[in-house]
């Protein structure tokens, strides 16, 4: 990569921006450091990863609103977690988490466990129980 090829394609970063250090060859063939604002292929790959996370969360939301899955399943996906990560943060078994992801297990949750779920999933306990909020939530990766 030559110095004038160091890409400066701005990424769709919502909060702040990071410029990456790159190594590129100057006109005398010597390696130097340069800062890059981003590169289209990389931006596209990150964007695609987020889009599919939101797409998947949308499908899960449908099942939550149909009363098949609990809001825990939905917020787990918004936090880019899987059952293992969520169980690790909750310090309970994966089997229990899977049970709580279904509406039947969710209804039996103790208030303590519910508030711990809320904390781990970065929502308030009220939000965690309110399907109306989940219904209205916008699922989109911002440009």
């Amino acid at each position: 990569m030559k110095l004038d090829e160091v890409p400066q394609d701005e990424a769709y970063l919502e909060e702040g921006k990071i410029r990456d250090v790159c190594y590129a060859v100057d006109k005398d063939g010597q390696y130097t450091r340069a800062l890059s604002k981003g590169w289209i292929p990389k931006n596209e790959a990150i964007r695609y990863a987020w889009e599919s996370i939101y797409e998947h969360a949308g499908e899960t939301r449908r099942l939550v609103l149909q009363g098949k899955l609990s809001p825990i399943a939905f917020f787990m996906e918004l936090n880019v977690m899987d059952v293992k990560i969520l169980a690790d943060y909750m310090e309970i078994s994966k089997r229990k988490v899977r049970r709580h992801m279904h509406i039947k297990g969710f209804k039996k949750l103790s208030p303590e466990l519910l508030s711990r779920y809320a904390e781990v999933l970065h929502v308030t306990p009220t939000e965690l129980a309110d399907t109306e909020i989940i219904r209205r939530m916008e699922l989109k990766h911002e440009d």
Binding site: M1, V6, A11, Y12, L13, E14, E15, G16, K17, I18, R19, D20, V21, C22, Y23, A24, V25, G29, Q30, Y31, S36, W39, I40, P41, K42, E44, A45, I46, R47, Y48, A49, W50, S52, V80, M81, D82, K84, I85, D88, Y89
Partner: protein, 333 residues
């Protein structure tokens, strides 16, 4: 209390932490030098191991290896700790800071408060240096950030005890003492030989140059085996590992080329300049691969021909890298 610590941005976090820490102890090495001596260059494609539902492809060695190898090869005494009790881990950190020692700390990025949301996945192998504390606030040198950042006690504790795959468990490392200016020439030669051997000789299909061919072979079949969408997601994962923050572009290939160029001077070996140019060409080929791969996201329903093209590109890259490293392996240094 704040240690007089110079923060330099780097392409890769572990290179940056290592270089910044060595600089604090009076040893000035560039980032490519740290990467090369630490044999950071690698390739692996794991078919048996998935992260967030996707196959793991990596363009460098495991976390922690660079710091260990660099300090060992330079004869520097270091110490490493991990903890089961978070408060204990914070206490020990405070104690070292009071002794005036900057401390390298392994963290998860998901809860890093100063990171943009786009980069916050559950990735638990990020490195930062903590170099001061005032009240409840810690001064942090994160090599991928342009400036010094701060974190509160609670924030730092949380990222040091992130959960999920490969949890950091409060891991921290620091330099005990540096006795004399080390001779870097033998360290460089060890670094080069180590990388060349690992790239060429590991008798498993997932690693080194063989790993690149293995990825090519599997990638060719993804659209049929996994379907268009999962194939695109897995391809996207490869491109992210190749280009995401911390690789210096093209999966560390350009950093390594910069390293070889620096070595040509130090070891008085002009041949290394030629190999550096060949490594640049390999990096450019990886970039062309990423560029073509990213087009598949824009137009997701394309046929299989484009995956075939991508696989052919990888096979060519594998040949390029094999050629470079077999020369480095046998070259008189």
């Amino acid at each position: 209390m704040k240690i007089d610590f110079q923060h330099n941005q780097a392409a890769h976090c572990e290179n940056g932490v290592t270089a910044n820490m060595l600089q604090y102890y009076g040893i000035n090495l560039s980032e490519p030098m740290v990467f090369g001596i630490g044999s950071g260059y690698f390739f692996s494609h794991m078919s048996f191991y998935k992260l967030n539902g996707m196959y793991v492809t990596s363009f460098r060695v495991w976390p922690g290896v660079i710091f260990n190898r660099v300090t060992r090869r330079l004869g520097i005494k270091v110490n490493r700790r991990k903890f089961s009790d978070p408060d204990r881990a914070m206490q020990e950190l405070d104690r070292l800071l009071e002794q005036g020692k900057p401390v390298g700390v392994l963290v998860g990025v998901f809860h890093l408060p100063y990171f943009p949301k786009e980069y916050r996945f559950h990735f638990n192998a990020h490195n930062i240096t903590v170099f001061g504390k005032e009240g409840n606030l810690y001064y942090v040198s994160d090599p991928v950030m342009e400036k010094v950042e701060t974190m509160t006690y609670e924030e730092l504790k949380r990222v040091r005890f992130a959960r999920g795959t490969y949890p950091p468990r409060g891991r921290m490392y620091y330099i005990e003492k540096v006795s004399s200016q080390p001779d870097i020439r033998p360290a460089i030669i060890k670094g080069i030989r180590n990388t060349a051997t690992d790239m060429i000789t590991i008798p498993l299909p997932m690693f080194g140059v063989k790993g690149i061919r293995y990825l090519a072979k599997r990638l060719r079949k993804w659209p049929v085996k996994l379907g268009g969408k999962a194939a695109a997601l897995n391809l996207g994962q490869v491109i992210r590992m190749l280009e995401e923050i911390g690789t210096g572009g093209a999966g560390f290939r350009f950093i390594y080329a910069a390293f070889l160029q620096e070595c040509a001077e130090i070891l008085q070996q002009p041949r290394l300049n030629e190999l550096s140019a060949e490594m640049t060409a390999a990096g450019d080929a990886w970039r062309a691969f990423a560029w073509q791969g990213a087009r598949l996201f824009k137009n997701r329903d394309r046929g299989m021909t484009s995956y075939d093209d991508l696989a052919d590109k990888l096979m060519a890259i594998a040949d390029q890298e094999e050629n470079i490293f077999s020369q480095l392996r046998h070259m008189k240094l």
